[in-house]
């Protein structure tokens, strides 16, 4: 073990600093505000610090380490040139309050990204300000709320979500002050139009839904659903978590949606970084555009004088929407993430369609491969599809309930068995509508060989003796972690026992 707080070299610092500026009088902190006890931070030299974090990194699994089929999270390869670009001083060392003529490059990239997302989503206006998917949801729901307030439709206090929705949907709507109306999915995992029609009325502000849904199925009735909600006077909100399946094939706009959020860290490969940062832009139809948080990137023809500073024939500038809800983050969004995603977009351009095709190809191929391998090995009775379908989209679900019933093998056991074979586990126990669910999303950046081998390993796990599997994992840095112990014996920081 390497413990950060075990390092206590008497004089150590990992970074020796130059002298500060000489002053005529020494600056002093007001007497009552002088820090009495320094933070009990460790004292490390640079070599010790580098070795500590390198050691930690080796105890962590990323896409670079191996296959990461974590459903709903779109764990695709992160091209390294994007990291190089994000460290250029023209992004790393700029301030959002610099005047527009200092930021023409940034503004033009923002404009290009807004435009690209508008085209892909079939929306009229995009803002890049939200910094995560959930924040995008909250932002869009706030815009819808203000839209109805301005129209005097203040009785629209409810937001409809299917029971298969991501947890952030109801959480975001509730945070904005809406009442949540949850509707059940049909037995085949799709939206129940009758259930929707029964709850959509003059109190409905919006319906939040993702398509393909969280089972990886395309909701073919989506246009009918949009019509029901629109007939009731509500707005349709598209959760873009699963956008990777449909770029250039269909769009939220074509499906009748009024607002959408994007998870740039999924679809456009901002690295997930162990939990963030992300970027969660939203796009809206024209009637919601005046409510977006500002500023947006806009452009006009450059004047001859501006031409000398411009990056092209346009002059890029910030624009404040007329009825803006204000800010949902203090600055202009996660600019560094937007730049990485811009570089990713440039890699594909109009070939984004191919990206989505390959994401869907890989998901279906893996689904078939797992079923085929299981059949050959005689274990195909141990799981069923989470939902019946001819084709999945970018991800698919399996229910391990038969394995649980027959052998006591849970989805979690299978997940841990996969860790032992060098894989990240799929998402487990989500969506909630599938019992003992495993949700598998390979993404387009995995090779056929990887998918074939994973399918074989998946089946091997199922053939394990259940007792052995309950013990898994055994090859990982630690074995099954006791989460109940963690919650009952809360230890949220180093205890400094010697102090």
């Amino acid at each position: 073990m390497s413990h950060l707080f075990g390092h206590n070299g008497a004089e150590n610092t990992g970074y020796s600093q130059p002298e500060g500026l000489a002053c005529a009088t020494k600056p002093v902190v007001p007497a009552g505000l002088v820090r009495q006890q320094p933070a009990r931070w460790p004292r490390l030299s640079e070599p010790e610090m580098v070795r500590h974090y390198t050691w930690l990194s080796k105890r962590n699994f990323g896409i670079d380490t191996g296959f990461y089929p974590l459903g709903s999270c779109t764990m695709k390869h992160n091209p390294r040139v994007n990291e190089v670009i994000a460290q250029l001083p023209g992004i790393a060392d700029i301030h959002p309050h610099q005047p527009e003529h200092h930021l023409q490059g940034l503004l033009s990239i923002y404009y290009e990204m807004q435009h690209m997302l508008e085209v892909c989503a079939g929306m009229d206006q995009v803002t890049l300000q939200p910094v995560a998917g959930a924040q995008g949801e909250f932002t869009a729901v706030r815009c819808i709320q203000e839209y109805f307030r301005l129209r005097g439709e203040t009785q629209r206090t409810k937001v409809i979500v299917p029971d298969s929705a991501h947890g952030t949907n109801p959480a975001s709507a509730a945070m904005a002050g809406f009442e949540i109306v949850e509707i059940p999915s049909r037995a085949d995992g799709r939206i129940d139009l009758d259930a929707l029609a029964a709850v959509a009325d003059e109190t409905t502000a919006a319906m939040m839904i993702t398509n393909p849904n969280t089972l990886g199925l395309f909701e073919a009735d989506i246009s009918a659903a949009s019509e029901i909600v629109h007939q009731a006077g509500g707005q349709m909100y598209y959760d873009g978590a699963n956008f990777n399946a449909i770029l250039g094939i269909t769009s939220p706009g074509l499906m009748g949606f009024d607002a959408v959020h994007f998870n740039l860290h999924k679809t456009f490969s901002q690295p997930h970084g162990g939990g963030g940062p992300g970027s969660g832009p939203i796009g809206v139809k024209a009637h919601l555009a005046p409510f977006l948080p500002g500023p947006l990137a806009a452009r006009r023809e450059a004047t001859p004088e501006e031409r000398t500073m411009a990056v092209d024939e346009h002059w890029y500038h910030w624009h404040q929407p007329e009825h803006s809800i204000g800010k949902i983050q203090q600055w202009h969004g996660n600019a560094g993430a937007v730049i990485r995603c811009w570089a990713y977009y440039r890699r594909y351009g109009n070939g984004l369609t191919t990206m989505s095709q390959h994401a869907v190809l890989n998901a279906n191929y893996l689904r078939h491969a797992i079923h085929r391998e299981a059949k050959d090995a005689g274990v195909d009775h141990l799981f069923v599809d989470g939902a019946e379908t001819e084709v999945a989209k970018h991800e698919f679900t399996l229910s391990m309930q038969p394995a649980k019933d027959a052998l006591g093998i849970s989805a979690m056991d299978v997940a841990k068995g996969l860790l032992d074979r060098g894989y990240m586990a799929p998402t487990v126990y989500f969506p909630l509508v599938v019992p003992e669910c495993m949700m598998i999303e390979p993404t387009e950046t995995e090779s056929k060989d990887t998918l074939d081998t994973f399918a074989k390993h998946f089946v091997q796990v199922l053939k394990c003796d259940p007792e052995t599997l309950h013990e898994a994992p055994i090859t990982t840095p630690v074995r099954r972690v006791d989460e109940v112990y963690a919650a009952r014996n809360l230890c949220l920081r180093h205890p400094f026992e010697d102090a």
């Binding site: 990992g14 500060g20 002053c23 002088v34 320094p38 933070a39 931070w41 460790p42 610090m49 930690l56 990194s57 962590n60 990323g62 896409i63 390869h77 023209g90 301030h95 610099q98 490059g105 990239i109 892909c120 910094v131 998917g133 924040q135 706030r142 952030t168 109801p170 959480a171 975001s172 945070m175 073919a220 449909i246 250039g248 094939i249 269909t250 963030g276 940062p277 800010k327 983050q329 600055w331 996660n334 351009g349 109009n350 070939g351 984004l352 190809l361 890989n362 279906n364 084709v391 860790l419 090779s447 994992p473 074995r479 099954r480 972690v481 989460e483 112990y485 919650a487 949220l492 920081r493």
Partner: protein, 457 residues
Amino acid sequence: MVDQLPNRGRETEMLSQMGFKSMEDLFADIPAEVRFKGDLPLRGPQSEEEILSDARRLLGANLALGSRPSFLGAGLYRNYVPASVFQLVTRGEFLTAYTPYQPEVSQGMLQAMWEFQTLISELVGLPIANLSLYDGSTAAAEALTCAVRVHNRKASQPNTVYVSALTPPDKRSVMENYCQGAEIDIRTLEHNPDGTLNLEALKEAAGSCGVYVEQPNPLGVLDEGLTAVKEIVGEHTALIVGVQPVSLGVVEAPGHYGADIVVGEGQPLGSPVTGGGPLYGIFACTQPYLRLMPGRIVGRSIDVDGKEAYCLTLSTREQHIRRHRATSNICTNETLIALMGAMHMALLGPDGLRELAQRNMQACQRAKEILSETPGVRLVHPSAHFNEFAIQVTGNAEACLAYLDANGITGGFNLASWYPDLTDQILVTTTDQTSLSDIEALAAQLALWTTHQEVSA
């Protein structure tokens, strides 16, 4: 694009193994009426070299702060982040991991975040810290809603919080967006002409759910009066203090003068300014707030063999479990930037942090000394400052900043953007990266500006 897709050229083989003829078969479930017609009307794909070349050209058109004397801060601070931080943080095992839902293969990030929680906890003087919120503004906004959840039942002013009048409007706007859903009334705390909090007016906030103040405040002032706030507002009102974390190398930790929640923009520790994001929001609190706080938190536990192990804990507060009853909707956070923060803090150690804070204060002091002797420039607040301070210039601040800009200096922040009445004040920010020649250049140009103003007057 071909270099990103391993199965290019194998499509037919893969499709036929599934019994499909074409890629189109995989999309047969999407009704024709919602299908895109034709190609996406976007530009063609580019190679890595072409992308890098375009990135250099476009980003090269931005004016990097470090390319000339710059005094722009106002919430984001240029600093020096040691090289090892960048080298380590781009290790693929950190960079390309997801949220550590499978703790057995995520011990590295989990332990690093547990250590981050400890570093922050020690820094701000409170027992609990989460592993980051989006930025300082959302951390402040979430602190307000958290305070209401905790105190609403006993508060004599339920659903009410008080926020310093100096709070930048963009941050205040974030607070309003986050608070309006819970119908929280945000009222304003007035300040004295010298920039300090008006402790007499503060009495009105007693019995509310929470008060939000900053140390140093948005005008850079170190306000000793904040140490009296907790006693004035009482035990049922949360004292929420927003901090510039570097200042805590020399300034008392708010947890030691009664703060219940400490928030702040973590950026100066570990991250470049990066156009305003990604940053990381600090959120730390005392025990009573723990179960109603937002965001993820790591606990130390054991594995089945009794070996030390880490995992996410108290997740029943969170959206993926609690759905619409969650304490916050946050899911993706700023872990990787928090990791950069942890690395920077680990490198500095307690002495390094103190030195860094002193360097910031020395640069500020030197700038104040020089600018106080510059014709036409007046220091607005006589008090102690950490790394920024307001000056009054001759004439209009916006015009003055434009003049400085035209003469090669990013002069600071026009305070009229926050406080419309202050048309002749500039917030001048210095950091450890400010040199004496930068300050002298600013002073020389301000003196020239004053001369121009006097000539034209």
